[in-house]
């Protein structure tokens, strides 16, 4: 005896339904965020420049606050911004602030400076890695726009008397969405009209076609690309200074707004910050690149925690708030004990206040 077709279909649907429900059940049981017993899990993701700092913050903080578990990831500022916005991470780390139009579409996103960072221009030119070659925006714009030799007039005139090799420069750029790309291309945009009219600045820009130019993933990828390739040049976050020094890479002196050539040192970074920090608006989204001042280093920036003002629940909101308050505090995570290890500079007191005001907005 055969069952009617309708019966066949019905049993099939029932089985499929049971399968679907059980699968859905699997999906809901594994969610991040707070669980019972006051335990809260937070995910921090984003900037590979800020990553080393979070990595020394988190163990110290969670050792004293055992109910909080924080996972850190170095994925690039683009990921930090997008994952904090879509809710898959509670803390997004970014060297770049969010753009106006995107912020309008995602109201309630906070851009909170946690420290001041800088960016080095590193190179690997045998024999010249210990001399701190002088470079400026137009020379870098040329290097990243067309095939350029190390003895190009644009570089030679900045380094009189220096014996430069006639070798093709390998410009290395970030392939992932990166706040380092953002501040580097801001330096080029602010200093070089042709770059401003062309590629301009962003987390991910449309790099001009340069034969042999390569993309690298994250600051670790940049350092590795420099190490592996002679005659290469790249922009690397200051928190990777120990690694670039260990790799014996060259570090360029950059021409600042006033025309002087400076290295990223605590003094020059502070000088640049002092020139600009007073103009910081309430929402703290501002570029600190190409500051005026005789001693100002041209590529510095606020390191941002990108946070959704409205967290999933009260426990998570409190945990994020407490952690950021500690991290910002000059006696906590904002102390030189932590910042010196990654060569960051502390925020001026008035900016700490602005940031704390923003942290206080976090709720659920």
């Amino acid at each position: 005896m055969r069952k009617p077709k309708a019966w066949k279909l019905l049993t099939g649907l029932a089985v499929a339904g049971v399968l679907a429900v059980s699968l859905a059940g699997c999906g809901t049981s594994s969610s991040t965020g707070p669980s019972s017993g006051g335990q809260v899990s937070l995910l921090e993701t984003g900037s590979t420049l800020l990553y080393p700092l979070f990595n020394i913050w988190v163990p110290d903080y969670t050792a004293k606050n055992t109910n909080i578990h924080i996972t850190t990831q170095g994925t690039g500022s683009g990921t930090g911004i997008s994952q904090a916005t879509n809710g898959s991470a509670q803390i997004g780390a970014s060297d770049a602030y969010m753009n106006d139009a995107f912020l309008q579409k995602t109201p309630g996103m906070l851009n909170i400076p946690m420290a001041i960072s800088a960016q080095q221009i590193n190179y690997n030119v045998p024999g010249l890695n210990d001399v701190h070659l002088k470079l400026n925006g137009p020379a870098l714009a040329k290097i990243y726009s067309q095939t350029t030799y190390w003895d190009d007039p644009a570089i030679a005139t900045l380094n009189p008397g220096m014996k430069l090799p006639h070798k093709v420069i390998v410009p290395v750029h970030r392939s992932d969405g990166s706040g380092d790309t953002f501040i580097f291309t801001q330096y080029l945009t602010f200093s070089t009209p042709s770059w401003k009219a062309g590629p301009n600045a962003g987390l991910n820009i449309s790099w001009p076609a340069v034969q042999g130019g390569v993309g690298a993933n994250g600051n670790p990828g940049m350092v590795q690309a420099l190490q592996q390739n002679q005659y290469s040049i790249a922009y690397v976050g200051i928190s990777w200074l120990d690694q670039t020094n260990a790799a014996k890479l060259g570090e360029a002196q950059l021409q600042n707004y006033d025309g002087n050539f400076v290295l990223p040192t605590p003094d020059t970074i502070q000088a640049a910050a002092n020139a600009l920090y007073k103009t910081t608006p309430q929402d703290e989204r501002i570029s600190l690149v190409f500051a005026s001042g005789a001693n100002s280093y041209p590529i510095i920036n606020y390191e941002y925690a990108i946070i959704n003002q409205k967290q999933a629940n009260a426990d998570t909101a409190t945990a994020v708030k407490n952690f950021l308050t500690w991290a910002l505090s000059p006696t906590g995570g904002g102390s030189t004990t932590y910042l010196d290890k990654v060569h960051f500079q502390p925020l001026p007191p008035s900016i700490v206040t602005l940031s704390q005001n923003q942290i206080n907005k976090i709720g659920s």
């Binding site: 069952k3 753009n99 969405g177 301009n200 790099w207 034969q211 993933n217």
Partner: protein, 337 residues
Amino acid sequence: MSRPTPWRESLIRATSGICAASALFFLFAVLAVMFVFAWPSIIFNGWHFLWGVPWSIGNLYGGNFVVHNGIEAPQGAEYGMLVFLVGTVLTSLIALVVAVPVSLGVAVFLTEVAPARLAAAVGVLVELLSGVPSVVFGLWGVEVVAPLVGHGLGIFLTRTLGFIPFFAGPVGTGVGLLSAGLVLAVMIIPIIAAISRDILARVPRDMKEQGLALGVTRWELVRTIVLPYARSGIIGAVVLGLGRAMGETMAVLMVSGSAINILPHNVYSPVGTMAANIVALLDSAMTDSTGMAVHALAELALALFMITLIVNLLVPVVTSGVNIIAGTVPGAGGEKH
């Protein structure tokens, strides 16, 4: 032994039928979703998307927007996939050129040459290789293959094959087309080799024995009897490998040099592939308030999907043709896996 009762039988039929239909359902669902996601980009970029070289997200921080064909995008936004299409095709081609002979060598060795115990051991190793996560291959590519190409193999090739335009220098950094192709080759060898081995093992013994009875050498046996008999199945294996190579993301991202806006000028040039580019650009694309950057990546994904689909659909056409030419038994060795 009792026959299944009718209701059990109909249950099995119905569930297996639904499972079979679900494959088709998911295929069309994915296609439909990607099409919907890509639609604004298709309208905005038009046909230019297919052969355009520049890929630009536009100036997100400028606050200016343009409207083209009724679709809004940041000023300067422009999308063309040619660089990534060329990167995908060329890296996959290099992978096939290297992987197919090696894989067939492995398959012939395992089925025709090696003693049974050795064949079993090597066979397990080959299958193990196919289970290695792609990021591991990527790391190996960055640490070993790229420096090797940059400082050794590339220079050797420019000296020996430099008269062929595409092999002439400069070699550059090592990351690029050749390194990506070589890493992909290693990743698809286990796939092609394992399937080819299974197919070669199915060549009927009496056919081989007839050949041996006629006094052919082992090499002649492989060349004139085994390979022609298994040809259509081997082509199926190669296409599976090709599909893997075209879709591979992580390992390629790590060794390709992520070129953008520039076509490769030689075999050592940095390239970008469609899959790798989607991963590299997706995060910052999400900060485009108009959504155009994500739509463009969806169109890129749609294009990759269509290409893979077309390649797979071509298999029956190609293999049936080969069968006729080779004059072998139609359908022999043509089982799909």
